[in-house]
Subunit: 336 residues, 2 copies
Amino acid sequence: MLRVPFDDLANTVEQALIRLGLTPTRAALSARLTAETDRDGVRTHGIARLPRFAEMVRNGSVNPLAEPEPVTSFGALERWTGHRGPGNLAAHAAMSRAIELAKTHGLGAVALGDTAHWQRGGTYGWQAADAGLAAMCWTNTLPNLPPWGAMSPALGNNPLILAIPDAANPIVLDIAMSQFSYGTLASYRERGAQLPVPGGYDESGHLTTDPAAIERTQRALPIGFWKGSGLSFALDVLAAMLSGGRAAYQLPLDPLQETGLSQIFLAIAPTSVATIDELSTIANGAIDFLHAATPIDPTHPPHYPGEGTLRTREENLRLGVPVDEAQYQRVLDLAK
Amino acid sequence: MLRVPFDDLANTVEQALIRLGLTPTRAALSARLTAETDRDGVRTHGIARLPRFAEMVRNGSVNPLAEPEPVTSFGALERWTGHRGPGNLAAHAAMSRAIELAKTHGLGAVALGDTAHWQRGGTYGWQAADAGLAAMCWTNTLPNLPPWGAMSPALGNNPLILAIPDAANPIVLDIAMSQFSYGTLASYRERGAQLPVPGGYDESGHLTTDPAAIERTQRALPIGFWKGSGLSFALDVLAAMLSGGRAAYQLPLDPLQETGLSQIFLAIAPTSVATIDELSTIANGAIDFLHAATPIDPTHPPHYPGEGTLRTREENLRLGVPVDEAQYQRVLDLAK
């Protein structure tokens, strides 16, 4: 494990993106969003994904020069297309616009179609929370999850993000609709570890905590069994309907061709109906109550979504951002 | 099991509500919403809840004459108070207003504070879908669920509803954030049955499918373990912030005093950015794809949220609405 100063990390990613064909200004923003993902400790979705992005530029799935633009609008609701440009830039632009709409209308939404993978979904939740707005956003994905009652995949794992602003304690939830991603399953398997809770089905059709068995069956579990299955389906259909983009059934099965996605960015301006003090009182009261619940393990009290991120961020800005050496080398190679 | 003609059922409930102090017009609407819940086969949340409602009117938790009203508004976002009147009437008024706002602004939201139990959450999803709008709504509840990592309750089970309109195949998801409600646990226990999937923890701290063990520990499981725990927390805080009402930490622990809740009603007008044909094509494509997934049990293929409701509805309108005789007798007694 290496620690790289944040600016060095962002600059290296920026150079790599320029070499992949992004314009300098857009490369700088995309690189910042990627480096911030590692800075916040979400290392599965930062520079770890850059080689895949590079491959998708090379195979034509992502057009590095394409910029998102509005297609149609009605009041506080807009439909945009990403034109299969870099997904984090399109998502950032869509959330920026949703924030503007919410400042005008109290709430606002951008439905973004034909876009590429947004990398870390939480990025756009933090974007809203940092601007003092609440947000809900989600993306569909290629079908990688069996619906409840089925053995073959027909749902995406469709990450859902919910963000609530607060100067001291922003709440940012970022959850996929599968209990564990395939990346997480692989990481448990490589460590020879069992999952902490059942994550899917084994070959004999039983729930299992064995990551390798789930990799073999490809029968990962939706959160809450039939509940997450239904939620994932509804999120997919609504995103495709509002964006005019593709639903899971129209998406390619190869992750290296996973583009043309549909995403929703909804922003809400709580300060349009309340003072910041009122909002803070509620957030802090709820957090104190959560923390006061009797812990199972006193060294791991319950925590709220996003708790600890500001501390991780501060530490990584001070000491350098932790990166896997081999992964960082791949970024350096792309930047050469 | 008895089958009662829909109109007889609605009229009987209406008489009961008039005797409980509602004005005739409001009693008629509240009764219709209750009878429609049984008509749609959601028998846990229809007339089964009427005795509890009567008790809450008697103990002063619900004011039968109180009507919801707007408190403040900003563009497409409004804050309302329910004044602790009948919860289904306040929720219905809030969703009606959200639908109006969405017709004007593309999307609209009403945050409703100080309201009573809304009974079936799906009611307000169907309300939007029947009007051709998509909707998302949720309510907080008293803390009845331990957060992930804790043994004592500090979260509500906060039902979340997502509705997508389609003339032939409306999609209406209605899920609480606990894997099983206490009502469901009791029903499994009474039948001597095990839960189909783990639903909580037993006395030794292990996941269990034994409903009685979970009733003893009161350690029910959030959907998706830490994921549903985080989602439930975020829904609670956002509802309280936007409505200016109470979060779970401010709610009474006694279900017979569970009032002063916070709810969000968000409506989206898909036809403001798309034609009905475009929307139908997406919904039908997604549904066909879901149905084509390889079933585990060929007699139970995967289904989408709300699937079959229109059929159940038609059947119960034709043959009469199935009611439990003892439950129906209680309604008849209240109506006397």
